[in-house]
């Protein structure tokens, strides 16, 4: 008879520590690394993290703009930025870390308690949140001492930032657990996706707008002059903590500080202790293979019908383009990973034109408006450009082999389908929204004509990501995404936007706008045809 397996010696590290190391490694490598060979996987976790932290440190240097300002103004700025960046990070990462479908098969049958697993994950989330928060606030610690705070500021700011990181992480985890408890598995994923997208978009947009709002108030944001609404904003609670100990020490600051401590304690207790027992059930139900049928019919009919009625049906006569259009549209509407990358990715594009419009409008001269409107129009060319670039990446990139196996000579038709979906579902709504904003701000519908230069340039911009056959949707692993490439194209579009807007504004004021439109249309048509011909000639490269 075989002897029982040997018992492991006591020197083996505790399972919590092993799990924490595992989740940290998995998180830093990203799940997109699955399916890649070792050569393609990220080489140095440390390098990747160090680069991210360096960017955050640079971003935090904006705190020096608050030099010699009240502690509360600076602390509000710092905590608002920290709150947004952490909110965005935790919202986009927590779902994958906390409720990973594949994980149940790997870990649930191991001798590890669910609470140990949850704690290991929470520790990883909090740990990374603290690194990020530390990087954002590094410059702020110095600036805070110089801007009216004293030597106490760095100490209390570190404390308030730790509290804020705990609060952010706790809130997101609490939302997940409550969703699981109240709505069940079927609606959990949809709700989580929606929450993640909304939080991320809000964080990006407000992260762009808030600093400009603070600058609009000439940097002066004083707790004594603030209204009741300041008590509703979580970053202000943590700023109150800083102000109470290292700033004005007004009763309002102490009240805000009290709110910070009470809310953080409550959220942390609920998320990490009270509701932690339901975590195992959550993981198990998430992994159930038998599930109720998802109500997809309405949505499916909507996409199918949309592509079947004119004018879209005329535009999608080619069956391959149509298939690619439907695939891209389905992913824009349904896929969590795509939604989390696309919508926060294009959200900032609304902000910059909006700021230009506001500045032109605020200064009350026609020159500002006649520059701001065409700039907004041309700048929206970034929407299809960015959208298509982001859509090339997918966790399910291996499925794109089906395109190569099909009798399609090259990627052109697939690129056209994806481009049309992006124009319909992303660019068109953004153009309408921007036109609405212009109309509401200026109340003059004739100014909308200044959008025409942007609309003419839009089809050309939308073709650029497909050049060389690169615009095949969902065909590249997520980890191969090159943010640098996107940055370059953004700079090019911004330069073109400035040039076109300048010329459009000048021609508008000098009465030769329509001649400019004619010239632009001719140039755009030549470019468009040229780019299409180039794309049609592209053949599949070997899928090695």
């Amino acid at each position: 008879m075989a002897t029982p397996p040997p018992v492991l010696p006591e020197a083996v590290p505790p399972s919590g520590k092993v799990l924490r190391r595992l989740f940290l490694t998995l998180f830093l490598r990203g799940r997109g690394a699955r399916g890649l060979n070792k050569k393609g996987a990220p080489k140095s976790v440390g390098e990747k993290l160090a680069f991210t932290l360096f960017i955050y440190v640079l971003f935090g240097c904006m705190a020096f703009f608050f030099f010699k300002q009240p502690v509360f103004a600076m602390a509000t700025y710092l905590h608002a930025m920290t709150f947004m960046f952490l909110g965005m990070f935790v919202a986009s990462s927590a779902g994958e870390i906390l409720f990973n479908k594949e994980e149940a098969d790997i870990l649930l049958h191991r001798p590890v308690s669910p609470k140990t697993m949850l704690w290991a994950k929470v520790r990883v989330l909090v740990e990374i949140s603290l690194w990020l928060a530390g990087a954002i606030n590094l410059a702020g610690l110095v600036a805070g001492c110089l801007s009216g705070g004293n030597w106490v500021f760095p100490i209390i700011h570190v404390f308030s930032t730790i509290l804020e990181a705990l609060f952010c992480t706790g809130c997101v985890i609490l939302v997940y657990q409550l969703c699981l408890r109240w709505f069940g598995r079927e609606r959990l994923e949809g709700l989580i996706t929606m929450a993640q997208v909304l939080i991320s978009v809000a964080a990006v947009v407000s992260g762009q707008i808030l600093p400009r709002l603070v600058f609009r108030f000439d940097h002066v944001l004083d707790v004594s002059e603030s209204s009741w609404w300041i008590f509703l904003l979580p970053p202000a609670w943590f700023a109150g903590l800083d102000d109470a100990f290292a700033g004005s020490s007004l009763p309002a600051s102490w009240l805000l500080a009290l709110l910070a401590v009470v809310f953080t304690a409550t959220v942390t207790w609920l998320a990490f202790d009270k509701l932690a027992d339901g975590y195992e059930t959550g993981l198990q139900t998430l992994n159930e293979t038998v599930s109720k049928l998802k109500k997809m019919r309405g949505q499916r009919r909507f996409l199918d019908r949309l592509a079947s009625v004119p004018p879209l049906s005329w535009w999608l006569r080619d069956p391959v383009s149509r298939a690619s259009f439907l695939l891209t549209a389905a992913y824009l509407v349904r896929d969590r990973d795509v939604k989390l990358r696309v919508y926060p990715g294009i959200a900032p594009m609304l902000v910059i034109p909006f700021v230009f419009l506001l500045q032109g409008h605020g200064h009350g001269h026609s020159g500002g408006v006649s520059f701001g409107i065409p700039f907004s129009g041309v700048y929206l060319g970034l929407v299809p450009l960015s959208g298509l670039q982001i859509l090339q990446y997918s966790q399910q990139w291996q499925a794109a082999d089906v395109f190569r196996a099909a009798p399609v000579s090259g990627p052109a038709q697939l690129c056209h389908g994806a481009r049309r979906a992006v124009l319909c579902f992303l660019a068109a709504p953004m153009v309408v929204l921007m036109a609405l904003i212009v109309w509401l701000l200026l109340g003059d519908i004739s100014q909308l004509l200044l959008f025409i230069p942007g609309l003419i340039a839009l089809p050309v911009f939308a073709l650029v990501p497909s050049l060389g056959g690169k615009g095949v949707p969902l065909s590249i692993p997520v980890d191969a995404a090159k943010a640098a490439g996107r940055g370059q194209s953004m700079i090019v579009v911004m330069v073109i936007a400035f040039a076109l807007a300048g010329v459009a504004g000048w021609t508008w004021q000098n009465g030769c706008f329509w001649r400019f439109i004619l010239a632009e249309a001719i140039v755009a048509a030549i470019l468009y045809v040229g780019l299409r011909v180039m794309l049609a000639k592209v053949r599949w490269s070997s899928a090695e």
């Binding site: 075989a2 499925a399 082999d401 196996a405 070997s542």
Partner: protein, 256 residues
């Protein structure tokens, strides 16, 4: 139907497929065997036009792999080992998308899909309403097999097609490929499940390190090498004969 001459694929300094040559007539089911890393999947990907050969040539249904690539693709179906699908599409959406790539009209595609789902015991409701990400592995494999046969190709390449299928579905699938072969389709079947290959295939091609080791009818090969079963023949040829002794040695470590 398939003619392969000196097909070679190199990845840098490594040669994955090394001068492979064979011919397969219509209506034959050929087991394409080899140990892990032998070059089976690379060969299948070359023959389906997914990767470019470094040298050599292949002709499928009268079309040259390099000159008439699109026609080759139109005439072949492929079930890849990964079984990857776009998980955010429903089964029906995925299959209709594949049909569109082969330019099959939507109504014809829908009718063909219904035939397949009835064969595979899938409900149309599941196919319409559930995203592929929520399918079991077996259901997903059925969708992938359907997508490979949707355009009625005369040549079909299967790379581990039974992976994830339950016993009934596997039996049904084996019957299906035998029927397809009787109707004149050429089937290339790559698998590690050798007893299935022995029962289903008319002929086996065994490769190792990219080179052809054996090519012939399973029973004739087994008799010629006096190995008893295809599995034993395979292990003899690919250096696996020592495995039983090594397993015995390994088991001893549990007794100590």
């Amino acid at each position: 139907m398939i003619s392969v001459i000196q097909l070679t694929k190199r990845f840098g300094a490594q040669t994955a497929v090394d001068g492979l040559s064979f011919e397969i007539p219509p209506g034959q089911i050929v087991g394409f065997l080899g140990p892990n890393g032998a070059g089976k999947s690379t060969t299948l990907k070359m023959l389906t036009g997914m990767i470019e050969p470094s040298s050599g040539s292949a002709n499928i249904c009268g079309f040259d792999l390099q000159r008439d690539l699109i026609e080759v693709k139109r005439h072949v179906g492929f079930v890849p080992e990964s079984g990857a699908v776009f998980e955010s599409l429903t089964g029906l959406e995925y299959l209709e998308m594949v049909a569109a790539l082969y330019r099959i009209p939507q109504n014809a595609a829908r009718a063909r899909i219904k035939q397949f789902i009835s064969f595979f015991d899938l409900s149309f409701e599941t196919l319409t309403d559930k995203l592929l990400g929520a399918y079991s592995k077996g259901m997903r494999r059925k969708v992938v097999i359907t997508s490979a046969l949707l355009h009625n190709p005369p040549v079909v390449f299967f790379d581990e097609p039974l992976d994830g299928l339950d016993a009934n579905a596997a039996v049904g699938f084996k019957a299906l490929i035998q029927t397809l072969a009787r109707e004149g389709k050429t089937i290339v079947y790559s698998s590690h499940i050798l007893d299935v290959v022995e029962r289903v295939c008319h002929r086996v091609i065994i490769i190792d390190r990219g080179r052809l080791l054996l090519d012939g009818k399973p029973d004739e090969l087994v008799a010629a090498h006096n190995s008893g079963t295809l599995e034993k023949l395979f292990t003899q040829l690919t250096g696996g004969a020592e495995l039983e002794r090594r397993a015995e040695d390994f088991a001893k470590t549990f007794r100590s």
